[in-house]
Symmetry: C2
Subunit: 572 residues, 2 copies
């Protein structure tokens, strides 16, 4: 990770933003990374280095915070980092212990370390507890606010959500900056762990700009990057001056460090305005489903997420059940890009119902990717099951039991290879299928990581086209043919589900925009269809409950960010 200079002069305050990728609970590696950045910054004469929220333990640590042992390890790391903070100030995030008996036992804090001492600790006030966030589960909010004094400057330090409580319907009753501004700070510094979704980057710039406009102060905003199971952090740390110009913006989805010089007169040297004029002041989710929205960012997020999932879990190689369909093709292509084609294996599992082109398309794809594959037909195994089940099934007609059985035979085969050769199965289910329950538990719903689980079918096609932007990796035939599970003769997805260009927009209104049936029908969608689709979504929660983590790229993904009852009777 190189240090990029934005400007250096004789005096004034040189501030480094360290945008790093942490590993939850890996205190040793996180601390080493933080100390390495401090040493680099010191060599370059920095006065202050800023890290992101809960950098020491990684974000989100979740219920690890319930272990005193875990919290104590974090405090120990703060001591180690403190020993490095001699002539340089360090602002770094870690949990701290609430000294009062009332309230929760921990704060989510930012430590100012300098002269080998803890010079100050500020606590997060606004604890997000929606979607994927659970902070009020662990932390007590701050009830008093004080600026930090450092080398003659007054720093108003806040943590992530603390700066987000603006707008017409604020989620919280207080804004910590409203208190801090009374103490005449010189600059705002925000330590964040703010995750990616395809509308978030623009929203983030907007909120920084709104804070700068409201408090008439410059802001240093330092975010983390990297993927933590299903949540991807995209970085995009930035510095904005009091005139709302973006002085510098760090890259997305990459570790980076940058130094800015904050002058005595409150300005920055050599401001580099990158995109300030383009920042919308309010960034909303689109009113309507748009399959192409942010597809390049989504691509980057998924690549980073696959890579981090394998890297942080200590895995190397992946396997994908390659059907010749669009979903598995996109997953295979993404896996090859993220892990290297030599670390990815396709497994073709044709049945008597597979069309000839399914196998040839899947073979062509692996050849295009220069990636290995095996073919294991499932016909004999299926017949063996049928024979063994005959005394129980007698002559009952072929139905969903036999369809699912084929899918489960495939699941067992791909897991057998995974177990034998130490491969991780990447799941290929998309959000449209998961929403409607169009998938087989323990069959095509098997896998360790849901690569496409937050992309509607239309977005999967958009991503396929994006992957093919520089030439035909995914064979055209795979993109052009009608989707089919191929579990009975001539089967098409559209036998069971509405066409995806009808289905996806309705799902988007219900899932992303939380519109109820009346509102969706009022948009002009057919009442029977809406009722049927919403019922499918709500009655299939039990299936999604057993699904693997899904890489989150939208503001509302299935998984930890969407918690609905399994046993319930709403719209079902």
């Amino acid at each position: 990770m190189g240090l990029i200079f934005i400007s250096i002069t004789s005096f004034d305050m040189k501030i480094v933003l360290a945008q790093q990728n942490y590993h939850i609970g890996n205190f040793e590696s996180n601390t080493a990374k933080i100390i390495s950045a401090i040493r680099t910054a010191k060599e370059e004469g920095a006065d202050l280095i800023v890290f992101s929220e809960l950098a020491v333990c990684g974000y989100p640590p979740r219920d690890f915070l319930e272990f005193n042992d875990f919290v104590e390890r974090g405090l120990q790391c703060i001591k180690e980092i403190c020993a490095e903070a001699d002539t340089i100030g360090v602002l770094v995030g870690a949990p701290s212990i609430n000294p009062k008996v009332e309230g929760k036992d921990l704060f989510n804090s930012a430590y100012l370390l300098y002269e080998k001492e803890i010079k100050g600790v500020v606590h997060k006030t606004l604890l997000p507890n929606y979607d994927i966030f659970d902070e009020y589960r662990y932390f007590e909010p701050a009830y008093e606010w004080n600026i930090l004094h450092f080398k003659g400057k007054k720093l108003a330090v806040t943590i992530c959500e603390d700066i987000w409580n603006l707008g017409d319907n604020p989620l919280y009753r207080v804004c910590p900056m409203d208190a801090l501004i009374q103490q005449s700070p010189d600059i705002m510094i925000n330590l964040s762990a703010s995750p990616f979704d395809y509308v978030h980057a623009a929203g983030r710039k907007s909120i920084v700009k709104q804070n700068v406009a409201k408090y008439k102060l410059p802001m240093i905003y330092c975010n983390t990057i990297g993927s933590q199971t299903e949540i991807v952090f995209d970085g995009g740390s930035l510095v904005m001056n009091a005139q709302q110009d973006i002085i510098t913006e760090l890259p997305y989805f990459k570790e980076a460090m940058q130094m800015v010089t904050f002058k005595d007169d409150g300005t920055f040297e050599e401001p580099v305005t990158l995109t300030a004029d383009k920042v919308p002041l309010v960034q909303l989710l689109p009113q309507q489903f748009e399959a192409n929205h942010g597809i390049d960012q989504i691509h980057q997020a998924i690549i980073l997420s696959i890579r981090d999932y394998f890297g942080k879990m200590g895995f190397k190689k992946a396997i994908v059940a390659s059907s010749g369909g669009i979903d598995s093709a996109v997953v295979l292509a993404l896996a090859c890009e993220a892990l290297g084609a030599e670390n990815v294996r396709g497994l073709l599992l044709p049945s008597q119902f597979s069309t000839g082109h399914s196998v040839s398309d899947a073979e062509q794809l692996s050849k295009n990717l220069d990636s290995a594959y095996n073919i294991v037909p499932i016909k004999d195994i299926f017949e063996s099951f049928s024979h063994s089940l005959q005394p129980v099934f007698n002559d009952l007609p072929f139905n969903v039991a036999e369809e699912n059985l084929q899918s489960r035979i495939r699941g067992a085969l791909v897991m057998a290879l995974a177990n034998k050769f130490n491969l991780i199965l990447l799941n290929t289910s998309n959000k449209s299928e998961l929403a409607t329950g169009y998938g087989t538990l323990y069959g095509d719903m098997a896998g360790g990581l849901g690569v496409l689980g937050d992309l509607y079918k239309g977005q999967v096609y958009a991503l396929a086209r994006y992957i093919n932007r520089n030439g035909g990796i995914i064979p055209t035939n795979i993109i052009d043919k009608a989707p089919s599970a191929e579990l009975r003769p001539g089967q098409k997805d559209s036998d069971s589900l509405p066409e995806y260009d009808v289905l996806d927009p309705i799902l988007f209104q219900y899932i992303e925009r939380r519109k109820g049936p009346k509102e969706i029908i009022a948009m002009g969608y057919d009442e029977k269809l809406v009722t049927r689709i919403l019922k499918l979504v709500n009655t299939n929660e039990y299936k999604r409950n057993q699904f693997c983590p899904i890489i989150r790229v939208s503001p509302k993904a299935f998984g930890i960010g969407r918690r609905v009852p399994i046993v319930g009777k709403y719209l079902s």
Copy 2:
């Protein structure tokens, strides 16, 4: 549901406690049940009827609360209930809308309905957000507190957690009763949805008693019953007078209504002291694992939970993969008790590694239960898989891949029967196995409901003995033999895991008591063993993440109440 009279006199205030079982989101059924109770209470001359927390929508509604449509349906039901509240007062729980723009948009409220009007609404102050609870995700806490006036009495109404903030290390900074007591109320009334675990019932009586002692007022405490996916509510509503006598206690795990007469002088008529002297003032989780602790309550909770899961999901029949081992035997016996033996089918799936007694024991069990079973040997199917995989596996030795494959063949077979005959697969994994990852994803970890997933192996044995308390339902041989997965010749669980009487107590310290490695080792356990077990727990989170809902009977069950990162590096 009959109305039981505790006492009736000429005047004074007659208060009915309605302890009911609701269905989340089933507004029609919940409202009908509430109205029916109101009519019964009116016939008996009651002045006031008290229901439980969020009775109208069911508890916990989770992310359904993010739909305006859902909230509006609840408000509509309040109107319908209001129309019944003419000469009788009704205290009932439902969400209400926060009129202020700041803060979250909803409150968790209790409505006082009387003379067909909403006479008052009080909001919950303390929003639990630990373990299975997520209330701060949805609700704004109350910031002002007012008693409700009703027929000349001043009611201090609180909601569930509001009365729990006592003790040496309170979780919240305020106690709403501290504010309400300033307004000289006559009586405290608490509407609860407080779930069962095997130490909770005693804890609940203790907290009611502590409130009565602190505020010197009688308390009406009304809880719900019934199971909501994994969470079981056990009822135990009660009335305590200001002298800390329990006037009446409603039954556990059953719907019930009782009426008490609260006299003008602040006493109750004919106090019936049931267990007041036995109530401990502090109820803690045992310091050490005790396999028999609360086993009778656990049995009741599981029976209710299976029955409610099926009833509320609209299912009738269950299937259990019956191995001849202790776990499946206990599940089969519980299923027969909960659903009726005629609605339960066992499936025996012997392999070449199954011992002869496995089949005969499992057959004897189904005969003892008078429940149907089928036998489908897996040998031929396994050979068919081996043959099809041979070109890929070549001559690699038999290992975990083939072991898991047998388990997955069983999973596919039992799911085939489930799909063909419309049965729900009950899972038999226990907490010791789930903790250590001793199970096969998509194999023995398959199923719709984890019946034993919150019981350590020692507790499963205790439950087996409890089931056999009136005679030998579960064959002695099943209870006496050494546990084995029977996936290779002569395999025993103890080849891979420590003996359960060593394993369970260590898991209990780590999972229930959140002790770190140093603390557990300091209790006298072997360091290497502790390190190995904690690593097993933390590296198998990815498996538990794909597991079905687990019936919760302990204060810390796997599932929604325990949220740890999958990708992480803590003790792993």
